[in-house]
Amino acid sequence: MQYYDSGWVGVLVTVLIVAVILATIYRSTKMEGNLFIRRIAGLNAIDEAIGRATEMGRPVVMVPGIGGLDAIAVQAINIFAKVTQTAAKFATPIKLCCADAAVYAVAQETIRDVYQREGLIERFDSEAVQFVSDRQFAFAAGVAGIIRREKVAAAFFLGAFFAESLIFAESANAMGAIQVAGSTQTTQTPFFVAACDYVLIGDEFYAASAYLTRHPILVGSLIGQDYAKIFYAALITFGCLLTSYQMAFTMKTHKRENRQWVALEAPERKTKKDTTFGYIFDVESPTEEEMKVERPQRQPNWWEQAPEAEGGN
């Protein structure tokens, strides 16, 4: 009884997209050969950035944003693992600065695993991954300080960034570092575009692990995302055409009033809300009366009783 009117549409679309992504993952694991992914300049620049740091003998700094441990942070750590893999081979020092303790714990384990897998565990510096601060501007000051004091040669800013993004980007630029940045926050992308050498825009950030590893599962997932995008684009185009047609050429004879359809005295031109898509996405909230349900009551447990009921203790 949760989904009034058309609230189920969102769930249905989500389930469909999940099904498509899973189907494309399954299909790509059965296919042979590399599937095509268009060139992403920011990811191609990883080797160039590390090569430069190696030549200069300076460290590479990586920042997975200031968000908590979510899909964004995990994706950032995945990319950093690839960066670290290359850096480990050339014995280039790395610095991974975290603003969240959970991200720090996962990042440290992942980076250590990379050195171990490469058989270069002796090159792993336990101070390479560090927790700086969970306060936004304390973290910004700390990372900017590390960038300047260590004179980093390459900087990777990938993850959820907010107002501190430009502090990092400009500090790294002042040191002459190559910068590769990418944020899922659309408000911060313009700052990175203005200040950094390479920027991963929008879902390029999530395409990174498929691009770097070419693993069939990851590439399959990327293809699924593309199908979903095509579906969305088609839906938007269809919605625009249908809404335009309905608003321009069809009239309404009834209107919604107090949750009832009421006949109009004379036909009126439809507004955006009266169109099919307007109706689907403008879900009517249930009234208090509709939400009311009578159920039998259980006895409250002792810890659920108000102090008065227990005798005022």
């Binding site: 769930v11 989500t14 303790a101 992942t110 980007a169 693993h215 659920e304």
Partner: protein
């Protein structure tokens, strides 16, 4: 569905049984920790995968399962669908508590990282040892003063009779905390935030140089938007267009304000929405891969 009601979180901690459940939970937790720490590296991935799947399954169920209407605190669920719905709703705060406890442990790990790195710098005579010492002294001072003022504010005998809303009644620890937090930390935060203004200027200077077609388009667009926000320039542009004809003049569409509004509504907003669609789909696919243990490389092992 009685079984579901029996294991419902709100029913478990009752009438003395709470201590039994706490002890059982503690021992199960310790046993799990022991097993995981002893597990060979090869077996860790399936263990982590199983935990991730179960945790993810809970939230998927919560999203897909119908939410009971107007659930009251003491309501008894009617039928199997509502029973599961009640169970899921009751479990949410418990799962959140688990997450909070884990976060608290991890924060300890973060503090340990700070101590290890900065103490070693101090003792090894690293060139940045003074920064490290400042950080550690500030951290310890803030902890001591913070706890002292909290204790005095909440637990002392004076706390019940004194109005600490009035700064005249503050103790030494409260004044010290106010100085450290509002007087220093907040001001330094504000200073760091203010620095962004200068960084915007230097970044804009570099970005707006005409080096390519893209940079030129960006420069032109930014110029129109910035000028449209300047009252005098906007007034002059509107007046100039109005002088060329009446209100119905087609040139009204080319005032700075109209052009900047058109850019924002027809170019900027759709582009941002398209990016957000892509990011949302990427996050969904990423979440799906993590949940089903399909992630490869990096965190996925």
């Amino acid at each position: 569905m009685d079984l579901m009601a029996q294991i419902s979180w709100s029913h478990r901690a009752g009438e003395g049984g709470i201590w039994t459940m706490m002890l059982v939970g503690f021992f199960i937790g310790m046993a799990l920790m022991f097993v995981i720490s002893r597990a060979p590296t090869r077996a860790r991935r399936p263990i982590v995968g199983a935990f991730t799947f179960l945790s993810g399954l809970f939230y998927v169920m919560l999203y897909l399962w119908p939410t009971p209407k107007s659930k009251g605190q003491f309501d008894i669920p009617q039928g199997p669908v509502e029973s599961v719905g009640f169970f899921l709703q009751d479990t949410v705060p418990v799962v959140k508590d688990f997450a909070s406890i884990l976060t608290a442990f991890l924060l300890g790990l973060g503090v340990f990282s700070l101590l290890r790195i900065h103490l070693s710098r101090i003792f090894k005579g690293h060139k940045d040892r003074f920064f490290s010492a400042t950080l550690l002294v500030s951290m310890v001072l803030m902890m001591i003063v913070g706890y002292a003022q909290w204790y005095q504010r909440e637990f002392t005998a004076a706390a019940k009779t004194t109005d600490y809303g009035n700064p005249d009644n503050w103790t030494g620890a409260m004044q010290a905390f106010d100085f450290l937090f509002d007087g220093l930390l907040q001001q330094m935060d504000a200073a760091m935030f203010s620095i962004i203004a200068f960084f915007i200027l230097s970044a804009a200077y570099r970005a707006f140089r005409i080096r390519s077609v893209e940079a030129t388009i960006m420069l032109g667009t930014a110029l129109i938007l910035m000028l449209s926000l300047m009252g005098l320039v906007d007034y002059l542009s509107t007046t100039a267009v109005a002088s060329l004809g009446g209100d119905q003049n087609v040139l009204q569409n080319f005032t700075l304000k109209s052009v900047s509004d058109w850019i924002k509504n027809n170019l900027q907003s759709p582009s941002l929405r398209a990016m957000e669609f892509g990011v949302g789909l990427g996050a969904l696919a990423m979440g799906l891969r993590l949940w089903l243990n399909l992630e490869r490389g990096g965190v996925g092992g």
